[in-house]
Symmetry: C2
Amino acid sequence: MIFSNLKLNKNEPIYIQIKNHVIDSINKGDLKKDSKLPSTREVSKFLSISRNSVIAAYEELESENIIATKRGIGTFVLAEGRNNSHEYFIDYSKSFNKYAYSLKHLDIIKSELPYKKNMISFKSIAPDSSLFNLDDFKRCFLDAFAYEGPNLLNYGYAKGYKPLIDYLFSYMEDKGVNSINKDILITNGFTEALHMILSSLTSTNDIIVCEKPTHNTALKIMKSLGLEIIQVELDAEGMNLKQLENTLENNNVKFGYLIPSYNNPTGIVTKVKRRKEIYNLFRKYSVPIIEDGFNEELLYSSSPIEPIASLSGEGNGVVYIGSLSKILFPGLRIGWIHGDAQLIETLESVKRGINIHSSFLDQSTFYYYLKNGSFNKHIKNVRKYYKDKYNLVMEMIEKHIPYESVLGEGGLHVFIKLKNNLNARELLELCYNDNVLFMPGDIFYKDFYDTNGLSIDGINTFRIGFGKVSDEDIITGIKIISKNIRILENNLTKSSDNK
Amino acid sequence: MIFSNLKLNKNEPIYIQIKNHVIDSINKGDLKKDSKLPSTREVSKFLSISRNSVIAAYEELESENIIATKRGIGTFVLAEGRNNSHEYFIDYSKSFNKYAYSLKHLDIIKSELPYKKNMISFKSIAPDSSLFNLDDFKRCFLDAFAYEGPNLLNYGYAKGYKPLIDYLFSYMEDKGVNSINKDILITNGFTEALHMILSSLTSTNDIIVCEKPTHNTALKIMKSLGLEIIQVELDAEGMNLKQLENTLENNNVKFGYLIPSYNNPTGIVTKVKRRKEIYNLFRKYSVPIIEDGFNEELLYSSSPIEPIASLSGEGNGVVYIGSLSKILFPGLRIGWIHGDAQLIETLESVKRGINIHSSFLDQSTFYYYLKNGSFNKHIKNVRKYYKDKYNLVMEMIEKHIPYESVLGEGGLHVFIKLKNNLNARELLELCYNDNVLFMPGDIFYKDFYDTNGLSIDGINTFRIGFGKVSDEDIITGIKIISKNIRILENNLTKSSDNK
């Protein structure tokens, strides 16, 4: 029986596994051309699975001309195996574990509608490359070499480039963060920092509390590690305190993950009073906070706010993840973790085990950019630039979009909730045909698909990223979105008229 | 009872957990200054643990003036809690999972004797920075900017920088490797590549076959992921075939991990005939091979040998990890995975989940360095340089070291097995006092510690890395090693005389 060495896994649809097993067996030479396959009934009985799965597998194989069914006679192998005396074939899809499988499954680059040339895209929240001052950058690169010489290109230290670490200590101090018994580890951006902390300090089914909605990459990492996620509603001041306390009281929560300075996607800035209340709740229940310092530098409407890490004094309850990627050089992938010294010491070993260290050339160049004033010059420049864009976006939305709410006090994006529970994914379909793209909001909710693959949370929301969009395209793009909202509204009216 | 909320874990010694719990309780305010602790007998009974563990914990706490015992009265808290109204303290050491704990435990940078200034160090196998041609490098950096502009500093693609990927395809083709249905993913060096493959495609207790001895970083990653390791003996031709077949036949092996071109640490180059035999065995049992292309460019005594990946034709059984870090710019952290296209597609999503992508600035600069001929010029240059060093090292060893075997046909290191089962760790202790450092060989064996913490495998071996050591220091250093071997031998003779 050709299926006797098939071990079914839970990660993939059964019919795909059946199909791959047949292809694999042909390539391995276990199934020769013209040989007869067992009937779908036999296979279903043998593997104790639904016959429909086997039928689906055979149908796909038939449509790809790998097998052929002769009525009343049986199913036969059509294809030649790719195998020859030197080659062998492994079906890696069977080997991926849950972690890899969910990272693939949750990879929005692969699942969401792709950008096409000449589209107006509000999808990205990356900065505008044309604002990067290349001459400044090149000078910093040459400075780095002048000071460090060729050692810059040899192995460095897992913790990171010392002058950069020292610079970041004083940067954190300026934000009011105490560094006693703390340390800093340089990472390849925010993503690596969060992945490293969670993969080192949690186990499957540990519970993480975070905002609702929150950064989709963070949700992806948590899910890939098998963590339980509890999202707590946001209002304009920050996380809902009652819900938070209730959650902390009734669950053995491992970590809080917070984006207080500019929540992605809503752009809500947690207010000073609320920050303290949230911090005190985590303290009360001895639950450590991972603070994502996302876009702290890009608040327009409010004065700078100190991070939650600044509230914890000499305590070690807050682990702060910093990154300047949304302002400066995301392509370099530089971020950092600031937290308890013992924690960092172990994470340093983890970093060494994962990729030894982050590029020293990049760290050093980045350091000279921060140190010599280029960064402050850049910040001033881009803050003005993005603020003007932000104002234009808000003006256009006020004029053209019938929203229930529009959120965002800075940064490179705003978040819209549509009236009448209009479906943002249907809106996206229409806009895509008009060459306009944005990010559907449901991906920022834990349960963005119900069991039928239909979105249940945040379905009437979407995010408008404007960092890289020209003023002209902002105007045109939002008008197109507006036009398509009218179409959806009309459809809605018609369908209720018809009832 | 202050210990009622202590959950013991299996990763740490019990006494450390007891100790940390007391400190934690003091900091949290659960244990006030001057309050009485339960007796060691009570704690041991309450937690069902050995009383000795509790005594050890209390002794350490007493030696650190955190608690004090008054004879006949009891044990009392001496220290004030660090806690104040705003601070809280988390004991992260309790939270690390097995993965993080073993990466820390196996981090040789933290456990092995450290380099001190002015030492002669044979520990590293990194290249000599002074051989890097900085002017060439700077020109390539400027070339990268000239062609790519500021987008080089913005977000790129998880798979990597397209021109570099295309270059590497032709580089692999030159090595005889077929790329049909294959793809390439750029990683942060070899370490990230192996970590990514194993963490995506294996589960705890999966079995990996590798050489004995083998790269300690690879062993570390496998252990941290909870994999079972079976090491197969090497002879001068490569892996022992009988042992390998026996292993493949009797175990459900998930992957082979091979360093055929220049095994680390032995420097053994697997011969062409043996490569085919090894490949055919893996093929016979349908076990995929992860090939570590380590130091392929630095073979002196034999003519270039094609990688095992070149044997697999259009098959996908071999996943090749490439890196030029031992020759060129380890500080940039650039490596790649070449393998089955479907495999790479999922690994691309994993890469995006881990750190989005590798630095595009580094990849682009590196690409121009490879493309414009700087690399070939560099290779020619360093091959001559390191070969001279290698010859000097071998000459000195022949003259001064009483070895059972000395292995290494290229690269930046040789591997010595001492006569009379002399203990290389004892030798290292002696040499360290004479300011000479090398890498003990036992770390390249799976079981380098027995349950008593004593090394059992490879104890009479050590690695001499010479890439960064001056000729003068090579001569002096090996003479010092030689002197200390005599001392150990004399001790041995004396002790057997005394019996």
